[in-house]
């Protein structure tokens, strides 16, 4: 070939550990440590056992963060997940109350999630000109609407026979089952996003959708699978949320989509697509969950907790911009 100049290109990654430590994920580990130490110092009841006991309610939302990160990495969004949680939870309680065996109820809940996810995915794939924000805003209203119709006047349902839910809400020793599931799912999502073709394709779509398409990435397929996964994990979230509350009502899952997005964005996953790491999302989710539990134990008002998390979020988004600006100014000052 024409390569006659004898120039060589280096193909060995360098300073891998240095880069890892200096990354946003490294910073998140430090933040997590600070949060744990501070909470422990402030509250005597902030023990491992207590934190783990309170975790399941919050951990259910982490199921939403994982596929949400995929969707954000593609530059898309799904704000209907809270409503899927509500619809799936409602149907699950109805199934249990109708005397169906618990595994059937679980299948119904999962099926609901899959169908809702498939509806979102199908609309977004078939009508690429519609922004996913608007599509899922529509389905957000529709899914919750269906749940509200089913819940009727009372607006809530309690599982009459909650044995099944109680069983999956149990702990192994002091660690709740859901904790293991979250860690396993998280590990799978990290592996998919870093080591597998699907993860690379997600990033390609989020970075430059046209180039990805021209390069043979099946953009529609990847989009559809991601939305269906989102639906399935919304159902998982519904299962474990019901296992913590033994029922559903019209406000079940309200705001969950925003919590999931907040966890991902605080973890460095850009909502414009193509940026961020799964591990960052998981770390930030633990930061937020541990902080919430700690502030809750100090009887901090839940509105104030939201305020603090909001400020953290904006700070996390601003930080890279600020540091870029500072280093740009420095360069200017030197020249």
């Amino acid at each position: 070939m024409a390569g006659k100049s004898g120039r060589t290109i280096n193909a060995t990654p360098q300073n891998v550990w240095r880069k890892r430590i200096l990354s946003w994920e490294g910073v998140l580990i430090v933040i997590l440590a600070v949060v744990l130490v501070l909470c422990r110092a402030m509250s005597a009841t902030y023990t491992l056992e207590n934190v783990l006991r309170e975790m399941p309610k919050y951990l259910a939302e982490m199921f939403l963060m994982l596929p949400m990160a995929f969707i954000l990495m593609m530059g898309e969004i799904d704000i209907s997940v809270g409503s899927i949680v509500c619809l799936s939870g409602t149907l699950g309680c109805f199934a249990v109350n109708a005397g169906m065996p618990f595994p059937v109820a679980l299948l119904i809940m999962l099926g609901t999630g899959l169908i809702c996810g498939a509806i979102n995915g199908a609309i977004i794939v078939i009508f690429p000109e519609l922004p996913s924000m608007i599509v899922t805003l529509g389905t957000q209203i529709i899914f919750r609407g269906i749940a509200e119709i089913m819940l009727g006047g009372g607006g809530s349902i309690a599982a009459k026979n909650a044995d099944g839910f109680r069983a999956i809400g149990k702990s192994l020793g002091i660690v709740p089952i859901v904790f293991f599931l979250v860690i396993i799912s998280g590990a799978i999502f990290v592996i998919i996003s870093t080591k597998m073709k699907f993860g690379r394709e997600l990033m390609a779509i989020g970075s430059n959708r046209l180039t990805a398409f021209y390069s043979g990435v099946k953009v529609k397929k990847v989009l559809f699978i991601s939305y269906v996964t989102m639906g399935a994990f919304s159902a998982l979230c519904a299962i474990f949320f019901t296992a913590a509350t033994y029922g559903a009502n019209t406000t079940t899952g309200k705001g969950f989509e925003m919590d999931a997005i907040a966890m991902a964005v605080f973890g460095g996953i850009s909502s414009t697509g193509g940026k961020g790491k799964m591990i960052g999302g998981i770390l930030s989710a633990f930061v937020i969950v541990c902080l919430r539990i700690g502030l809750g134990q100090k009887n901090v008002n839940s509105q104030v907790i939201l305020l603090i998390i909001g400020i953290l979020l904006i700070g996390a988004v601003l930080l890279p911009n600020i540091s870029a600006r500072i280093s740009a100014n420095k360069k200017k000052a030197i020249s």
Binding site: R7, P13, N208, F213, Y214, S215
Partner: protein
């Protein structure tokens, strides 16, 4: 008072790495229609943008009625009575005709918009242009020709003394063009000076009294239209002699690899048939917008077609999407490297392996070491100027980015046909020669190459055979030995009537 209403002297405009205009001059008399001609990329559009204040020239002076002016932005040019009408009207499709005409210079009384008065005045302008639509019509519902009329009405409403028309007839039918000619002549008779940019000689002969030619960002000359011959004008436009920057090695073409038959897509191209053999470089040329890229994107399954068959090694194949094309070994190197060729924020290695991730796996997982090694191998093969395979694509120059695109194609080891769309667009001269060397090498290795290009020297210098397209049809198939710039230019500027047939 100066003889010229507008005069520009020694204008130089530099974009990062490129001199878009090099010491050009221009003189416009009051009440004349002045044609501005040149090949694609000769600098016409940049020049217009300097006049309208969109770009500021690095060097040179501009005089209006003999007074030196210095436009800081489009607003200044507008205030000085200069208006431009573009090929694709830059209007607000959801607003009414009146709103479009009075955008940014609305009639107000005490801060309240006077719609009745504006509608009335808009009607007066439209009547002047003999328009057949109402000022209350929605812009988006009008045809391109009608939208252009609105743009002209807008120019009149700002009391423009100089109106620039940038390829106004490019998307018009013969009848619509004739109507536009009449409007332009009427404007001239009213004392407006007009700069008319066009690729069509018929436009120039019909309207202009003088013509200025640009080539390679330089001023070539200004001629009286009735004193210059067609041949002289073409020579002025394409002019340069072909140097030996084209290291084409003679290769005896082998078997036919790809043949397409009767490719049609409504509104884009019709009945396009062509073929390419192993070791052959086929040039596909014509003016921008002739439908070359569209045909090739349809071959690769990127855009739809209404009809047409693809034969690969004499066997009919079906391509529904880019993956099918890649699986068959038909690889497109897109024209726009930043939008469709590369992921600019990604490392070079990952860009190269993006289409072949399937093969980069050990079982379920991507083997990054293998991936980096492969990226290194192909990037070195095309001699990319990069330090590591992790350098982001955005850090490279245009020429080196093009090399990465080539490496990406080479990595697909079943490649048989390479379709290169404007392979040297935005590439500097030195890197151009390197890319030609790579192309020549590929041909020697037996790949079938289709090169889409608007650049005559590269078409003539690199092709074995040349297809010329015009208005969505193939108008000529030439052997490289018999082809000249004049013949190609003639075939790429056929008469307008054919356009009707495609649409």
């Amino acid at each position: 008072m100066s003889e010229y209403v507008l005069e520009l002297k020694g204008i130089t405009k530099i974009f990062p790495g490129v001199k878009a205009l090099n010491n050009v001059q221009f003189q416009l008399k009051k009440g004349e229609i002045h044609a501005l001609m040149g090949e694609n990329g000769a600098g016409k559009s940049t020049f217009i943008k300097v006049i309208t204040g969109v770009h500021q020239a690095e060097e040179g002076e501009m005089y209006l009625d003999g007074t030196k002016v210095d436009f800081k932005g489009p607003g200044d040019a507008q205030a000085a009575g200069i208006a431009a009408v573009y090929q694709h009207p830059t209007s607000y499709p959801d607003l009414s005709v009146t709103e479009n005409i009075f955008m940014n210079h609305e009639i107000k009384k005490g801060g309240v918009l006077q719609w009745k008065q504006m509608n009335r005045e808009a009607q007066v302008y439209l009547d002047q242009l003999e328009a057949d639509f109402k000022p209350t019509a929605e812009m988006g519902t009008l045809s391109v020709a009608q939208q252009q009329m609105v743009e002209i009405a807008k120019a009149i409403s700002t009391h423009a003394r100089i109106i620039i028309l940038d390829e106004p007839t490019a998307s018009l039918t013969a009848n619509e063009s004739e109507k536009l000619y009449k409007i332009v002549e009427k404007l001239r008779d009213d004392g407006v000076s007009i700069i008319f940019i066009s690729h069509r000689f018929e436009d120039m002969y019909r309207l202009a009294s003088r013509v200025t030619v640009f080539r390679d960002s330089q001023y070539i000359g200004t001629y009286d239209v009735d004193k210059i011959t067609n041949a002289d004008l073409i020579k002025a436009m394409v002019g340069r002699e072909i140097s030996d920057m084209y290291p084409k090695v003679a290769v005896e073409p082998g078997e036919e690899v790809l043949r397409i038959e009767n490719f049609s897509r409504l509104g884009y191209f019709k009945d396009v048939s062509l073929s390419v053999r192993a070791g052959e470089i086929v040039g596909l040329t014509g003016l921008v917008g002739a439908g070359r890229t569209e045909v090739m994107e349809a071959v690769c399954g990127i855009t739809a077609k209404n009809s047409g068959t693809v034969f690969l090694n004499q066997k009919e194949v079906h391509v529904k999407n880019p993956t099918d094309a890649a699986d068959l070994g038909i690889i497109l190197l897109p024209e726009d490297r930043q939008k469709t060729g590369l992921i600019m924020s990604w490392g070079l290695g990952r860009n190269v392996t993006l289409p072949i991730m399937k093969k980069m796996r050990n079982g379920l997982f991507i083997n990054e070491k293998k991936e980096n090694e492969l990226g290194k191998k192909f990037l070195e093969e095309v001699d990319t100027k990069a330090v590591t395979v992790f350098d982001p694509a955005s850090s490279l120059s245009g020429g080196n980015q093009q090399k990465v695109v080539v490496a990406k194609a080479l990595a697909q080891d079943n490649m048989k046909v390479v379709i290169m769309d404007e392979p040297t667009k935005g590439v500097d001269v030195g890197a151009k020669a390197e890319i030609y060397a790579i192309m020549s090498d590929l041909a020697k290795q037996g790949y079938a190459i289709i090169m889409i290009s608007s650049e005559m020297p590269e078409i003539l210098g690199m092709s074995d055979r040349i297809y010329v397209m015009c208005n969505g049809r193939i108008t000529a198939e030439l052997d490289a030995k018999e082809a000249t710039q004049e013949i190609i230019l003639e075939h790429s500027m056929e008469k307008t009537e054919k356009k009707e047939a495609v649409r």
